[in-house]
């Protein structure tokens, strides 16, 4: 394959921040990206992930920090000279230019010869399997095809870094899965270093080598998919990693042994695992449990670690192999559960989960985690 990734060793973001008229959209982002890595920036809308991407692309000037490519500052280089490829959420294809002219645009800007451009455009179009559509205008293509053109247009320049801004969010569910595989395939075959912005945890987990979870402009956690999935650092990350049951609770007593802790959630008394990097003594906590970690207790069965949650079945959804069930506890708390057998709506259920899988986070963490970040940003 002739199209390859531009070569570099590492891309370093040092305390990158952006404020908009006093509002901090992004604060103290530190990240080192190795060549060939696939990084996902994950977070809810307004968390600063798109701001981070636009800062990297040079479309937004930084207000704090530096971006270094192999030790050389690039944040002062204008976007058009930076040589990073970008794939936009709206595709941003030039509507008046055919597919091949869209792909050729960047090569023409670099002043390459006609022959060279022809060859590389054909290659890029073949790469995304759009050979038969090369002469069409973007408006004549489907959403998925347009997205492939946008990707071809970015990778044909052999950029050192490809930035993708929610590229799949405008596609329907089936196409999204196909394009996800396609993006992963391109990443693997071309060795492109990619930074990918999304609010879809499934997308991020399946595509990325490392994830950066952002919230309100601040990094919450950086890690590999399994690190984040199994060991979320705070309840916001847990919320994003599929811990659908996030319940407010109060610490009753530390149980002594290691990180075990007794909490009461409404009328329920649970034993869980305390997760707190700073070793907090917070009384107000958030208890996070994944729906698939809650198990329906058969009559006469021993609950795990003494954890019993009782409630009435409120909603049953068919999800193929299993059922997504919403159970309402007597105090009104809603619990999301997955069961292999559909329970009757209105039936009484007893649920259990091992203390190991019940994560207990300090409820209020934003203030504490924000301070050191801000200090770093100023120092940088």
């Amino acid at each position: 394959m002739a199209i390859t990734a531009g070569t570099f060793e590492s891309l370093e973001l040092r305390g990158v921040g952006r404020t908009f008229g006093g509002h901090e959209a992004l604060v103290g982002l530190d990240l080192t990206v190795r060549a060939g890595e696939f990084i996902a920036l994950l977070g809810p809308s307004g968390c600063g992930k798109s701001t981070a991407l636009n800062c990297l692309a040079g479309l937004l000037p930084l207000t704090h920090g530096q971006i270094l490519l192999d030790g050389t500052r690039v944040d002062t280089v204008p976007s058009e000279k930076r040589g990073f490829g970008m794939v936009f959420q709206s595709y941003a294809l030039f509507p008046h230019l055919s597919v091949e002219k869209n792909v050729a645009f960047g090569l023409q800007m670099r002043g390459l010869g006609k022959q060279e451009i022809r060859r590389r455009v054909d290659e890029a179009i073949d790469l995304v399997k759009l050979g038969e559509h090369a002469r069409k205008l973007p408006g004549q293509l489907s959403g998925g095809q347009q997205q492939r053109v946008a990707i071809a247009r970015a990778v044909v320049l052999e950029p050192s870094l490809v930035l993708m801004d929610e590229p799949l969010s405008n596609l329907d569910a089936k196409l999204r899965l196909d394009m996800r595989t396609e993006i992963r395939r391109l990443h693997q075959s071309l060795g492109l270093t990619t930074i990918y912005v999304t609010h879809d945890q499934e997308e991020a987990l399946s595509l990325a080598d490392r994830l950066v979870v952002l919230r309100e402009g601040r990094v919450q956690q950086v890690g590999t998919p399994d690190e984040l999935y199994d060991h979320p650092r705070n309840w916001h990350v847990a919320d994003f990693m599929g811990y659908r049951n996030i319940l407010p609770g109060v610490v009753v007593a530390p149980q002594g042994a290691g990180d075990r802790v007794q909490v009461s959630v409404g009328s329920l008394a649970l034993s869980g695992r305390q997760v707190d990097p700073a070793g907090s003594t917070a009384r107000d906590v958030r208890v996070a449990v994944r729906p698939d970690d809650l198990v329906v207790l058969a009559p006469g069965e021993e609950p795990r670690d003494g954890n019993v949650l009782r409630g009435t079945v409120l909603v049953v959804e068919y999800h193929g192999r299993e059922f997504a069930v919403v159970v309402q506890a007597p105090d009104g708390t809603l619990l999301h559960v997955r069961t292999p057998v559909a329970p009757q709506v209105g039936a009484e259920l007893a649920l259990t989960a091992p203390a190991e899988r019940i994560l207990v986070f300090p409820a209020d963490l934003t203030e504490r985690s924000a301070e050191p970040d801000r200090a770093e940003a100023v120092a940088a």
Binding site: G58, L59, P78, M109, R110
Partner: protein, 317 residues
């Protein structure tokens, strides 16, 4: 409100009947013929009474030349047209009008582009600046002409300032000539062109320019390769509208122009034939030919526009 749906309109759709079972009224309604068409009556009445009838009457008049015209120019019923093309005093007004309208329209459109581009950005005072630019549209031509006379006349503020500052020795001749009319056409036409160009520009998705930037295009390349091609159809439309406005210039040609010389435009000629010579047929002929010349220019621009890309430009347009 339209009529209630008929009972027969509800049949199972999967049975492929050779003929529609829907009622005639239902079938007509699907082709857009229903009682809501009555809403068009007022507009039709006005159009017929105030435009179609007088316009046809005017065309009829052009074929009823005065005896004097027939004697002088010959051509029987076509004498007015012969006069229009043969009489240099009349025919030259076509070029005189063109010499005003074409440059004015071109200037208004071209000058609007950079201003609209700058005002697309967000900055402090943007609203104030837009207001100032658009304000002249509210003045009307007569008021503009009056203002020009006071401001730019021989004894006007501008000349007095320039003389006092020692920049000129004698007052600049800015009114009662070609320059005066041109200034008035720009003052009234520019806000109009600017508003149109801005709205066309806001119809272009800003992420297209961002995409071009990440692909290595500098500002001139982005403008020439992306913005301009997408804006061009809108510029053509803007040009047509400002040209038509400028071509029918009348009050300023008389008030701040040189009505018997360099700004002897077609509308003035038509008014002269009507008001001073009482030659209604000749006035109608000149008015009709005005329309023909305008249509010819409009057709040329539209033909050029037809060659351009006119599809979606991705913005909020």
């Amino acid at each position: 409100m339209s009529t209630a749906p008929t009972a027969s309109g509800h049949r199972t759709p999967d049975r492929r009947a050779p003929r529609s079972t829907a009622s005639l009224r239902h079938r007509l309604a699907e082709r857009g013929v229903d009682s809501s068409l009555w809403l068009m009556v007022p507009a039709l009445v006005f159009a017929l009474a105030l435009f179609v009838y007088p316009f046809s009457y005017g065309i009829g008049l052009t074929f009823q030349p005065s005896l004097a015209a027939q004697e002088r120019w010959g051509g029987g019923v076509l004498a007015n047209y012969v006069a229009f093309f043969r009489d240099p005093f009349v025919f030259d007004s076509v070029w005189i009008t063109m010499r005003l309208a074409l440059p004015a329209a071109l200037f208004n459109v071209i000058a609007s582009i950079p201003v609209a581009l700058v005002l697309r950005r967000r900055f402090r005072g943007k609203r104030l600046m837009t207001s100032v630019l658009v304000l002249p549209i509210t003045l009307g031509t007569v008021l503009t002409a009056q203002g020009l006379l006071i401001f730019a006349g021989r004894q006007g503020w501008l000349n007095r300032f320039l003389m006092a500052a020692g920049l000129v020795d004698e007052p600049l001749q800015l009114v009662n000539n070609y320059v005066g009319v041109m200034l008035s056409l720009i003052i009234t036409g520019f806000p109009f062109a600017f508003l149109l160009v801005s709205s066309y520009l806001s119809g272009i998705d800003p992420s297209l320019e961002s995409a071009a930037r990440t692909l290595g295009a500098g500002w001139w390349q982005r403008f020439r390769r992306i913005t301009m091609p997408l804006l061009a159809p809108g510029l053509a439309t803007t040009f047509i509208l400002t040209f038509v406005l400028a071509f029918s210039v009348f009050p300023s040609a008389r008030l701040v122009g040189d009505a018997m010389g360099s700004t002897r435009v077609m509308s003035l000629m038509a008014f002269r034939a009507f008001g001073e010579q009482n030659d209604y047929p000749m006035a109608s002929t000149i008015a009709l030919m005005m329309g023909v010349v305008e249509l010819a220019v409009v057709a040329l621009v539209l033909a050029w526009r037809a060659l351009l890309y006119k599809g979606s430009t991705g913005g909020k347009g």
